[in-house]
């Protein structure tokens, strides 16, 4: 096992260096796409002549790892690919050992398929243009890039159902795509899966002003829902930095967490009903608007967090909390992590029911934000603080909330928990404080390459991991820690000028093993997607994973929904 890992690695290195910078060989229809900042390469071609000398030289039988998909000739050690389609896809930076092959059971699109889709959706909603496909094929972090040739934009559940029914009968793999803001490569194709984009299904179906229950289609952008509700005196129970682009269907299928989870709970609690379309086109109507309904097994929970692998969510019914008028925000500085923990405990006790967000960032994160984002300034007089905490309260009485917050903060300051702090005096000051915290991912992107990890860990242990990573990596990388301290969720980010396998080897699997040892989750809210598809065993027992695989096979026997992701591909195929 080890040996061929090493070969494939050197193989890749060789191909990387020679292939895509000099695609001289006309036969080598290479669609390799890589830059120094992207970690993903695709070596996709008819003949892999560059690789031939390398492989021949090694005399290994590399049968298990590289084999032609529609092969007629078995792989022989010297003569490798005799003009057949050979697709090697290597995610070389995410993990040196992951190699995925395109499932040979999936069909490829032909012109009959295209005309069929055009008949269902109309000409306009069947997209084949390079430019649009290019954006749809690339994820937000520009880490993953698929090679899909077709994107469909259904306008209704009925159209989704017809598309899936057809794809299932033809065995065409699909990727459900919403706002494409996911961070684990779950929203873009791996190979040439058909992209089903829900962006056109963006109407609000109903809103009950008394109960606050909102029913809308899956393609509604979160920020639009927030503004819709704002004028009616309600808010969405979740809020995240990506709200300008992310769609509610995607939020629900990834069980997005966000900034207000500590107050309103997760989507498992606030989503009252769903309508989903299964792989064979069956429309599963679970779109209830009832707070309580104990009739049978609650199936919607299977879909919430399933990342599009069990069905495509088409409608969502969600309970929205009333908008409370008094929102206060404080930006605080603490000298060490222990004070941050104690502050959390105190906040939960003294601010109690009005606490609505508790976030933290370390000094590295703040430095990055101040350096890379425009129009951002440090709310506190410049001084060497080590940790910054953002506390938000939401309540119904302006003056009493403000007094409560001030009293709590002054008490904490006198007790030495806080070394400095500022309270936002109006809404624009509050949004600039939030911009600092919400802008950390963007600042990290601008700083170069970033390795992102999203972990749930016991609060006491959370920062220990950051410090251990700093020791491990030394000056090679900038280790940044920030996250939802109120939910024990650490976003560990390692920023380097470029993607580098040596650094990756130092990070993985150490981070996962460390998390596993402390009984944490290797993906608190981002999901597994493609990045962690074979890592589930770090946080779930084999029996649980086995049952998940059975459920997947039951609901999607052909495995066409978002393949290669979430569950380990070896188990599902």
């Amino acid at each position: 096992m080890e040996k061929w890992r090493a070969i494939t690695y050197t193989l890749l290195q060789h191909s990387l260096k020679t292939n895509f910078h000099h695609p001289i060989n006309p036969n080598f229809r290479s669609l390799t796409r890589s830059s120094s900042t992207s970690g993903h390469t695709y070596a996709f071609g008819r003949t892999c002549e560059r690789l031939k000398p390398m492989l021949a030289h090694e005399k290994w039988n590399i049968q298990p790892c590289v084999h032609p998909c529609m092969s007629h000739h078995p792989l022989v050690s010297t003569k490798i690919f005799s003009g057949n389609m050979c697709r090697i896809q290597c995610i070389y930076f995410a993990s040196l050992t992951t190699k995925i092959q395109r499932n040979p059971l999936f069909s490829t699109i032909n012109s009959d398929d295209i005309s069929h889709f055009k008949k269902i959706l109309g000409e306009k909603n069947v997209i084949q243009e390079e430019e649009k496909l290019d954006t749809a094929n690339t994820d937000w972090m520009r880490k993953y890039k698929g090679s899909s040739k077709l994107m469909l934009q259904p306008r209704s559940t009925e159209e989704v159902s017809q598309i899936l029914k057809y794809c299932n009968s033809r065995c065409l793999a699909v990727v459900p795509q919403g706002g494409n803001t996911g961070l684990v490569g779950g929203s873009v194709p791996v190979f040439d899966e058909v992209i089903i984009n829900t962006g056109s299904m963006n109407s609000i179906i109903s809103f009950d002003k008394v109960s606050g229950i909102l029913v809308c289609e899956a393609g509604c952008i979160l920020e639009n829902l927030i503004s819709f509700l704002d004028s009616r005196g309600f808010i969405m129970p979740l809020d995240l930095g990506a709200k300008g682009s992310c769609q509610i269907g995607g939020n629900v299928s990834t069980n997005a967490g966000g900034l207000r989870l500590v107050r309103y709970g997760s989507l498992h609690g606030t989503v009252l009903g769903l309508e989903a379309v299964l792989a064979n086109g069956t429309v599963l109507d679970m779109l209830g608007t009832l707070r309580k309904d104990n009739t049978g097994y609650d199936l919607k929970h299977l879909f919430i967090g399933s990342e599009g692998s069990l069905g495509i969510i088409s409608k969502v019914s969600i309970l929205t909390p009333p908008k409370l008028s008094s929102v206060n925000l404080a930006f605080l500085a603490c000298k060490d992590y222990f004070s941050c923990q104690k502050l959390l405990l105190e906040a939960k006790r003294r601010l109690g029911e009005i606490l609505s967000a508790f976030e933290f960032l370390d000094s590295h994160a703040l430095d990055l934000v101040l350096k890379h984002l425009d129009g951002v300034r440090n709310p506190l007089p410049p001084s060497m603080h080590n940790f910054y905490v953002l506390i938000e309260t939401t309540g119904s009485d302006e003056s009493s909330d403000k007094q409560k917050l001030e009293a709590f903060l002054i008490h904490s300051m006198e007790g030495g928990l806080i070394s400095d702090g500022a309270i936002a005096q109006d809404i624009s000051q509050a949004s600039s404080f939030w911009h600092i915290r919400e802008g950390v991912p963007e600042a990290l992107m601008k700083a170069g390459a970033v390795y992102k990890y999203d972990l749930s860990l016991p609060v006491e242990k959370m920062y220990d991991l950051v410090e251990e990573m700093r020791i491990r990596l030394g000056s090679a990388a900038d280790v940044v820690g920030y996250g939802h301290l109120g939910d024990s969720n650490l976003h560990l980010n390692i920023s380097t000028p470029q993607y580098d396998d040596a650094i990756l080897a130092q990070i993985e699997p150490f981070v996962y093993e460390w998390t596993s040892k402390h009984h944490g989750s290797i993906s608190a809210e981002h999901g597994l997607g493609l990045m962690k598809a074979d890592k589930i065993h770090y946080s779930k027992s084999p029996e649980a994973v086995q049952l998940m695989t059975s459920i997947k096979k039951l609901l999607d026997p052909n495995g066409i929904l978002n393949p290669y992701k979430v569950l380990p591909p070896s188990l599902v195929s």
């Binding site: 004028s231 008094s326 702090g421 005096q425 624009s428 949004s431």
Partner: protein
Amino acid sequence: MKIMVAIKRVVDYAVKIRVKADKTGVETNNVKMSMNPFCEIALEEALRIREAGFASEVVAVSMGPAQCVDTLRTGLAMGADRAIHVDAPAAGLYPLSVAKILRALVDVEKPGILILGKQAIDDDCNQTGQMVAGLLNWPQATFASKVVLDKEKQLATVDREVDGGLETLCVDLPAVITTDLRLNQPRYATLPNIMKAKSKPIKKFKLEDLKVDIKSDLEIVEVTEPPKRKAGIIVSSVDELIDKLKNEAHVI
């Protein structure tokens, strides 16, 4: 030298305002109120002048009902030394009345500079600073985007943002200055200052004490929303476009 800063409590700049159902004004119940952004800039400038050594004390003043005290507390938390609250009914405080009250306060406090925001974001009047300068017979430098003080000569050199660009004015002190957006970026209220603010005095005045009569000769008849912007339409051909421009919009 003392600096007096006038601040106003208004609906928060980021709130989406709604007109009351009876059209008598804007809905202010249950809506977030904060210090007028231009007043924040004025206060920040006063604090900077004090920190540069040109003044010894910054006094923040505000007039209106009891809730004004919250805004004054914010001013104290930013760094003002003292505050004055003039108790007056919310309705009827139009710029001329405010100017009269400010004149009375200036007679009491005798500051060297009276600094205000150029206008309030709720009424957009842009009148108070000019009126109070007239009542006091003081020089005025409005829409200030830069203020430089000269202590010995007792004058202020002010860059003003005018329609044609920037105009530099020299005014003898005491003077009235009104601030524009690009003058400075107001500081945040930090916890140590918030703590200190709790012990700073807020003096209360009643209108009778100042001998000011705020009977106004203005009456708001009606407040309505601007007409909603009509949705555009997509025309299918150039001919249809020409037809619509000619026959519906009457522009060609």
